[in-house]
């Protein structure tokens, strides 16, 4: 797999000024062409920061990448000069953002926003770039694309805006597509359309995709591989099948329990108590230990991401957890 890996991220660590503990800690994964990796986790767990770091779009200061390497087709994204990164960014590697309304420039026509990226990376002229923009709008199945080309974002519905974002990201046939919660702001019906579209476009172009979401339904729908993040760390990763059918980490289990099922009613929901600690107040050792029902003294040291076989890796001192091996209950509340 490493041989064909398009992106190898290793030990990404991001620090926030004034906070001792890294805010994203030692995050790594590999991604092959045509593959989709979903990163899940609660709000604030560092999903966006990870993706922004890859794009070189971290807000520095206050944030800095203190460690890590991101080999993208042989080049380290995190170490290359800004000018070189700008050549790759938007061309071979593109990103779709969460908020389709605010992520499009309200003052520029849709066509121009797509075309300028084409001009930048393909070095083509005005007319050609425009033609490409039109083609892209058509490909993301925006009705009446000729007309939409000259419209402004506010004249489009939410779903169309997100399609325009996708068209913009795919305009230069990127090898890597990063999508940060591309459907969170959308309705289920529109979400289904967009996800379907992304899938089919990915199949056409063979691009690798990093999809960030906190909707496990979307993950189940899209993922080849899954990484579950908590408190800035990956705590469980594996294929979609591994993570869904055989979740190991208590947090993954809690997350899945929290989702109300679509089946018949089944009493109270099982929840993860408490909230994610502030970056300034992360516990040492396992970061989930403050909320974990199984936490023991062993959780005071940082659990390594251990392979349980077939690439299913979990960072928990108690993994694999079985009913008989349940550790002593922690009775102290928060």
């Amino acid at each position: 797999m490493t041989a064909t890996a398009l992106l190898e991220l290793e030990g990404l660590t991001i620090a926030l000024k004034g906070v001792d503990q890294p805010i994203v800690d030692n995050v790594g994964f590999t991604l092959a062409r045509g593959e989709t990796l979903c990163i899940v986790g609660e709000s604030g767990c560092g999903k966006s920061l990870t993706s922004l770091a890859l794009m070189g779009l971290l807000q520095t200061p206050p944030l800095t990448v203190t460690r890590g390497m991101a080999r993208f087709a042989g080049e380290d994204l995190l170490a290359m000069p800004a000018a070189r990164l700008r050549q790759i960014r938007g061309g071979r590697m593109a990103m779709i953002f969460q908020e389709p309304m605010t992520s499009l420039n309200p003052g520029l026509r849709i066509g121009e926003q797509i075309a300028e990226s084409v001009r930048r990376h393909k070095g083509v002229g005005q007319a050609e770039a425009r033609a490409r923009a039109l083609e892209m709008l058509r490909r993301v199945r925006i009705p009446a694309p000729e007309k939409r080309l000259d419209e402004y974002p506010h004249q489009l519905s939410g779903g169309m805006r997100q399609r325009a974002m996708i068209a913009m990201a795919l305009a230069n046939d990127p090898e890597l597509l990063i999508a940060d919660e591309p459907t969170t702001a959308l309705d289920v019906t529109i979400q289904a359309q967009i996800l379907k579209l992304m899938k089919s476009l990915q199949q056409e172009t063979g691009a690798a995709m990093v999809l960030i979401t906190h909707d496990l339904g979307v993950v189940a729908e899209m993922a080849d591989k899954v990484a579950v993040m908590y408190g800035g760390r990956i705590i469980e990763t594996g294929t979609a099948e591994q993570v869904f059918t055989d979740p190991q980490h208590p947090y993954t289990i809690g997350l899945m329990s929290s989702m109300p099922s679509l089946g018949a009613r089944s009493g109270r929901l099982v929840t993860v108590p408490g909230t994610v600690p502030q970056p300034t107040a992360m516990p040492p050792g396992c970061r989930f230990s403050t909320r974990c029902p199984f936490a023991t003294g062993a959780c005071a040291t940082v659990p390594p991401l251990t392979d349980l076989g077939a690439g299913h890796r979990v960072a928990c001192a108690h993994a694999p957890l079985t009913a008989t091996e349940a550790p002593a209950m922690r009775s102290t509340g928060t």
Binding site: Q191, V218, V219, P247, V270, T271, A323
Partner: protein
């Protein structure tokens, strides 16, 4: 069924642009809704963004004035009540807002926020109110000391609890939540859903919940109304609706839900395209341009809500002939070991709750 809150032909038009000369542009946000909400039930309203859910919720409380129609609560028509009487009735009808960040006055302490409804309705003495605030805070899983803090010091989930405590303060009988959990994280959302259910039982509330997360609705609601472009197109007990939708739009909604389970059926896009412009809704059945089953009659004649028996109503010309697909009972594909782990986890959580209330 004893209806505690009923609407008849409720309508709300918004004037979006009024040029100096010529016609004003009117959005029919709610286009004639008649509902009966039974005392003690959890009633849910679902539908696409912009279909008029929030507007309907606000009309139910008369936070905005309806263009036409009636809202009956305990024999009084809220829609035509004088302001003073209406203010008094607000004691019984309370609202939970979607956004826990913007719905609490940042300038007031939590205690003052929760006390305010009691003060407005002159409930209790000062000390009694204080005690009630402390009590409510504990009920929603916060601590009495938090009364002196300000909203910004709390997380989203905690704020939503403050909002709930405030809504409960005047001792309401009906609680209306406009997407009370959609701004929250998965795990926090579960906490708040549990809380609402507990409170409903404890206080004997009638709950009206608006949401577009169909899983949450499935979990909470007794009955569900599906709205499309300002109209209720189907209304049914939750289990029936999910298992056998009668309206094509309801079917489409259910089909589009991504199921959080490996190897589950893929989400289907039964409807293409965006919802039509509410300013100029299509003639006939409003859903027909996107409906896979539309026939000629759908294009010209607007269907009315018809009783289908079993407490179900639907507004579709072809309701009886179509056999639509619902969500089959979904079993999570999990390894036995995983099942064990889930059970263990649930057990641990239950024990923990027994030990000490969730923070």
């Amino acid at each position: 069924m004893t209806a505690i809150l009923s609407t008849r032909g409720l309508r709300k038009d918004f004037v979006t642009a009024k040029p100096l000369f010529g016609e004003a542009t009117v959005v029919q946000a709610v286009a004639g809704v008649s509902l009966d909400i039974a005392a003690g039930e959890t009633f849910a309203i679902v539908g696409e963004s912009g279909c008029g859910k929030s507007t309907l919720a606000r009309l139910l409380l008369r936070l905005i004035d309806p263009t036409a129609g009636e809202v009956w609560y305990k024999g009084e028509d809220l829609a035509s009540l004088p302001p003073a009487r209406l203010r008094a009735l607000r004691r019984d009808l309370q609202f939970i807002f979607q956004d826990p960040f913007s719905s609490l006055n940042p300038q007031m302490s939590v205690g003052a926020l929760i006390e305010e409804p009691m003060r407005v309705h002159s409930i209790g003495t000062r000390t009694e109110r204080r005690a009630k605030v402390a009590d409510l805070l504990t009920r929603v899983g916060l601590r009495p000391e938090h009364a002196d803090r300000y909203p910004h010091e709390f997380s989203g989930g905690q704020r939503q609890r403050i909002g709930i405590a405030r809504a409960l303060a005047s001792g309401p009988t009906v609680l209306i939540g406009d997407e009370p959990v959609s701004a929250l994280d998965v795990s926090i959302q579960a906490q708040v859903v549990n809380l609402l259910e507990d409170l409903k039982d404890d206080f004997g509330l009638t709950l009206v919940i608006i949401a577009h997360d169909l899983a949450v609705i499935r979990h909470m609601a007794d009955r569900v109304a599906v709205m499309y472009l300002g109209e209720v197109v189907e209304c049914a007990p939750a289990g029936d609706l999910y298992a056998h939708p009668l309206h094509p739009y309801a079917e489409a909604l259910l089909a589009a839900i991504p199921v959080a389970s490996y190897g589950a059926r893929p989400a289907r896009t039964m409807v293409e395209g965006d919802p039509p412009n509410p300013i100029a809704p299509p003639p006939g059945c409003k859903f027909h341009p996107r409906c896979p089953y539309a026939t000629d009659i759908c294009r010209v004649e607007r269907p009315v809500l018809a009783d289908m028996g079993g407490g179900r109503t639907v507004a579709c010309h072809r309701a009886t002939e179509l056999s639509l697909q619902g969500l089959a009972d979904l079993e999570q594909a999990r390894t036995p070991a995983a099942r064990g782990r889930f059970a263990l986890y649930a057990q641990a959580m239950a024990d923990k709750t027994a030990h000490n209330r969730p923070e």
